[in-house]
Amino acid sequence: MLGLNKKDMTLLIAVAVLTMFAPFFLNPFPTDSAMAQFNAGYPDLMQRFVIFGIFAIGFNILFGLTGYLSFGHAAFLGVGSYAAVWIFKLFTYNVVPAILLAVIVAAVFSVLMGYVSLRRSGIYFSILTLAFAQMMFALAYSVLSNPKFNLTNGETGLQVYPNDPQMFHPEGMQDFPHLFGLYMNSTYTMNVGPWAFDFNTGYYLCAVVMLAVFYLAIRIFRSPFGMMLRAIKSNQTRLNYTGLNPRPYTLAAFVISGAYAGLAGGLMAAMDPLAGAERMQWTASGEVVLMTILGGTGTLIGPVLGAGFIKYFENIFSKINDAVLHQWFAFLPDGLEDFVVFIIHPFVGKGWHLTLGILFMLVVIFLPGGLVEGGQRIGKWIKNRGKSEDSDAGPKTEPAE
């Protein structure tokens, strides 16, 4: 179906079900319960899950398949956001043209950056992309916000002001991005007993877009083009001596992933009509790298998992403070309670980045295949445990997915 084999179709359906019913899955705890702080089913966070999912899926098409490690992809996300906000400012709050322009502008930028950077590989490529992105960040942050030619509005960030032209914005419509009249911030809350579930228009738009681009990614993975990209990662020498030119392939992958980043940026602006330069900084690029490797580089579902994982724990960890910790460990004797809180304190709240860094290292060191590999290992372990009881067959090596 849809040109996918059974396994891929199952995966797609699973992701579709998860995203469509996310408002239920992510709010498993009643609103008033103590566990409600672990709920993640509010619109803002759910939007971030899927938007960063899109970003990481795209990044994975470049890094996962070709092995080219870009440290500049946040720049495309930022460019996409700026493009979208400009549409809001000049023309209309309808998100369709904004998102389209975001994708196109990001793709144009990635053609330029990719064309130059891909003339080198390995660490030089990483440094070139880093240099480009930092340059764009520096420009967006300062130069392009001068009074004569204010493209980015510098530190404040680009936003829509009442005196902007907004040529096609009809009178009487709210000042917020919408999809043909459906406002991105409109939320229907369903109350079931003590539970509350939020259904947000913006989230569903993002989720549908993500499903579409996830489907596209599956197709790319299974296509001859995808195979060529994996071949580039595996052995460029052989590829060259097989009559294939790696450069247009890598450039195409670069532009596709850049367009994905632009799409994510456009959606971000559609959810909240604001664009700031900090979105382009290289730490932001580092974040998408982390999402991809944490989930599982080169796997289909990995980047989505990684993005969800990081955004969820970012949200949870940042909310935890000493009061919460004391509440959790209240069952311990007083001295011990203080000690435990003292130990955990640096890793939560504002210390989330510390946890993130440690996680990053642990994954690279012990689990280069990310969560997907971790899952596979556990699965294999369980299977082998079941097997070893009736036969002593050695572990079979199966080709990686």
Partner: protein, 340 residues
């Protein structure tokens, strides 16, 4: 003329920092073949050694003065640093005043230890892995180190003054009959950097240890075959590179009040410097460091920024991109080191 000279001087201090960090990066890359994204963090830790020592020396106890009163009429509380009570007020005060240069003594062992732990505990396991993995794990480490510093020292820059005697402005031009006011500490920094660079080169040139390391940089396998334990030397080399970055950081503290992200800021630029100088070339790293520092300072003049707005922000990246595309080996890169 004065203006040009001044810009060159202005570029020297940043250039010195770039050169020192790039030197360490190149040493590590050349010997261990590892791309170390945590090298900027070592620079930052060095700067915080200065902060720590300053705070430590300023630790005080409180006494209540019997004679003096504060403006509310309460007895005045007097803070006396312990050092002043141990060594007498005068010597004590000057020890505190000189805390930044003194921090060099603290930083050398600490940085070498940090380097040693880093290499033995982490980097060692990544020799055989892909460059992408090395980048990623050291990037993670850099985040961890900077977050730890942020946790203990906060997010704001911390003023770390130079000794009074060295914090004024000198009229350098007097020697040449020109008008050139220039902060003394920056001159000190440049001289210090030159000294360290000279020391590292002399060490590599004139000691047997250095000879083996240089041979190892040129051809690791062959030297390994000679039965020389190259790994242990490389570990020590890593520690030295860490110390160089740390020293660069200590002395930079008065120029730019240390903050937790200064390492990252400098790292990106230092990588660019290494690439421009030529991966694996020590003289290239130093040369490119100073060159880019000076270039940046020229690009920051009002003349440059009015001609091409923002040129000061992007000049280094621009140069790097041009160099990488036209001379992929960098200015002085050796053949065969990470080509393509």
């Amino acid at each position: 003329m004065d203006a040009i000279l001044l810009q060159i001087l202005n570029g020297l201090d940043k250039g010195s920092a770039y050169a020192l960090i790039a030197l360490g990066l190149t040493l590590i890359f050349g010997t261990l073949g590892v791309v170390n994204f945590a090298h900027g963090a070592l620079f930052m830790i060095g700067a915080f050694c200065a902060v720590t020592l300053q705070r430590f020396l300023s630790l005080s106890y409180q006494t209540v003065s019997e004679t003096e009163k504060d403006f509310l009429g309460n007895p005045l509380k007097v803070e006396t640093p312990y050092v002043e009570s141990w060594f007498g007020p005068e010597i004590g005060a000057s020890i505190i005043d000189w805390s930044t240069p003194l921090a060099i003594l603290l930083a050398i062992p600490i940085m070498m230890l940090v380097g040693l732990i880093m290499e033995r505990g982490l980097i060692k396991h990544f020799y055989k892995r892909e460059h992408a993995d090395q980048i990623l794990v050291t990037f993670g480490l850099a985040i961890v180190l900077q977050e730890i510093v942020k946790y203990y020292f906060g997010a704001n820059p911390i003023q770390t003054p130079a000794p009074d005697a060295l914090s004024g402005v000198a009229n350098l031009g007097a020697w040449f009959g020109l008008e050139l006011a220039y902060p003394v500490w920056r001159i000190v920094y440049f001289c210090f950097a030159a000294l360290v660079i000279f020391g590292v080169f002399a060490f590599l040139q004139f000691t047997t240890f250095g000879m083996v390391v240089r041979a190892g940089m040129a051809d690791r396998e062959t030297v390994g075959l000679l039965g020389i334990n190259i790994d242990r030397r490389f570990t020590i080399m890593f520690a030295i590179a860490a110390a160089v970055a740390g020293l660069a950081g200590v002395m930079y503290a008065p120029i730019n009040p240390p903050n937790y992200h200064m390492g990252m800021d400098f790292l990106v630029l230092s990588f660019v410097v290494v690439v421009v100088g030529g991966m694996g070339s020590l003289p290239g790293a130093v040369l490119a460091g100073f060159m880019l520092g000076i270039l940046e300072s020229f690009a920051s003049t009002t003349w440059a920024t009015t001609t091409i707005p923002g040129i000061n922000q992007i000049i280094i990246y621009l140069v790097a991109i041009i160099v990488l595309l036209t001379r992929p080996r960098g200015l002085m890169g050796r053949k065969g080191v990470m080509e393509e």
